[in-house]
């Protein structure tokens, strides 16, 4: 099971691969859409890659609630527990 720091680092790698954004820009308080300019379709890719990497299920209905990177890290941490 991954620590929050490890989840953040893993998520940053996924975001980097999908969008080319620098991993250092992917911080807990950043909003996916507003700050990182990630659209709803890239978000789906990120979600599926995260499901794979962290071996969790992120249902479609849940994706809307993952506004910030921190929301995603918390959801994944809780789902892994």
């Amino acid at each position: 099971m991954a620590s929050n720091e490890e989840i953040l680092a893993g998520l940053a790698e996924i975001v980097n691969a999908e969008t080319g954004l620098d991993v250092a820009d992917v911080q807990l308080d950043k909003s996916f859409t507003e700050d990182l300019d990630i659209d709803s379709i890239s978000m789906m890719t990120i979600v599926v890659e995260a499901e794979d990497k962290f071996e969790v299920k992120i249902p479609d209905e849940e994706v809307k609630n993952l506004k910030t990177v921190g929301d995603a890290v918390s959801f994944i941490a809780a789902a892994q527990a």
Partner: protein
């Protein structure tokens, strides 16, 4: 037993002998779409890659489009209509429950009395029909099968809704499949997932339409309608979808099926000259290319930009266009994969004519 039944003389292999397509005239731009829904050219381009779609006018029917594409495919294959011994039409927009579009098309083309039937497998319809044509030819039940994917989706959409209508266009694509000296169609990888029956569906059934037109006091109808229409709903059934569910399935589940098709064909991604996926969304196509790790050398069909999503017609239309714009792919291998309402999917590797 004293007698033995005869069985057909089989063919070792089948392949696509020719292709043809028809694009209707009316061009619908993203700006046109934005008069009907709250959206923008930029939003649509970024999320879908669609710039225009072609739609048929009121005087151009499913049969007209199917006939035009079929005549071109016959000419390209170098055979006459009389040589056809099966006609399969994949469509979900022929406006008659029966008789079929295929029997009318067969008569129009001069291919009567060839067996003719329609199949309903939405955006996988063309790949389903190719699976059948391949099997019919190898089993010796047919020598020349006409496969047509045709849709007039504009008859079954509501331009004022935002889930699917803005993606869709009209058109027809056709291929002729016949016996071959070399393997030309790999084992079909096809299937369905009815647990997602509602992911892309009509607003309501034709029975609910009938009730709303004739009134519920009509006693014939009492038992027939399970869900009456909401009071202000448009009685004409139109398409809707859950875009996120479909997107996730289309990319990640379909990438698995595409890899399976390559495996069943006994080839690697490097052996492909072309990738011709159902034209649903440019972002789905891009993501599949990534998932499949297709080398740069593979020509990828991106007809969606000009043509939108034409359901059963999209793969044969894109294939026909690719053969004209990239003649170098002729005689080489293409991976084709269709997927859509059902949910259903079908994939093959084919030798391009």
């Amino acid at each position: 037993m004293s007698v033995q039944l005869k069985t057909p003389a089989t063919n070792a292999y089948s392949r696509i002998l020719g292709t043809g397509s028809f694009r209707p005239d009316v061009v619908v731009t993203n700006d046109d779409v934005c008069q009907w829904i709250d959206s923008s050219d930029e939003w649509i381009r970024q999320r879908t890659g669609i710039i225009t779609r072609h739609r048929a006018d009121a005087n151009t029917s499913v049969l007209d489009m199917a006939e035009a594409a079929s005549r071109r495919a016959l000419e390209d294959a170098g055979i006459t209509a009389e040589q056809l011994d099966t006609v399969i039409v994949a469509t979900v927009t022929f406006p008659h429950a029966t008789p079929s579009a295929a029997s009318a098309l067969t008569e129009r083309l001069g291919a009567t009395p060839a067996p003719a039937y329609d199949i309903s497998a939405a955006c996988a319809g063309y790949c389903y029909a190719v699976a059948q044509a391949d099997a019919l030819v190898r089993a010796g039940l047919a020598q020349h099968v006409l496969v047509v994917g045709v849709e007039k989706l504009s008859d079954y959409i509501d331009n004022s809704e935002r889930t699917i209508s803005f993606l869709l266009g009209d058109g027809a694509g056709a291929v002729v499949i016949g016996a071959s000296e070399v393997p030309g169609i790999s084992p079909s990888v096809w299937g369905s997932d009815g647990s997602k029956w509602n992911a892309i569906s009509m607003t309501h059934s034709q029975l609910a339409l009938r009730e709303s037109v004739l009134g519920s006091e009509n006693e014939l109808l009492e038992s027939a309608v399970d869900e009456p229409l909401e009071e202000h709903a448009n009685p004409w059934p139109t398409l809707r979808q859950d875009g996120q569910t479909v997107f996730r399935w289309a990319v990640w589940e379909m990438a698995k099926m595409a890899r399976k098709a390559l495996h069943e064909a006994g080839i690697e991604a490097e052996d492909l000259a072309a990738f011709i996926p159902h034209q649903a969304n440019m972002r789905i196509i891009d993501e599949m290319v990534k998932q499949l790790k297709l080398p740069e050398s593979v020509v990828v069909a991106r007809d969606i930009a000009e043509n939108g999503n034409t359901s059963a017609a999209s793969i044969p239309m894109a294939m026909d266009r690719m053969r004209r714009e990239h003649p170098e792919v002729s005689g080489k291998l293409a991976l084709q994969i269709g997927f859509g309402a059902g949910l259903v999917f079908g994939a093959q590797v084919v030798l391009l004519p």
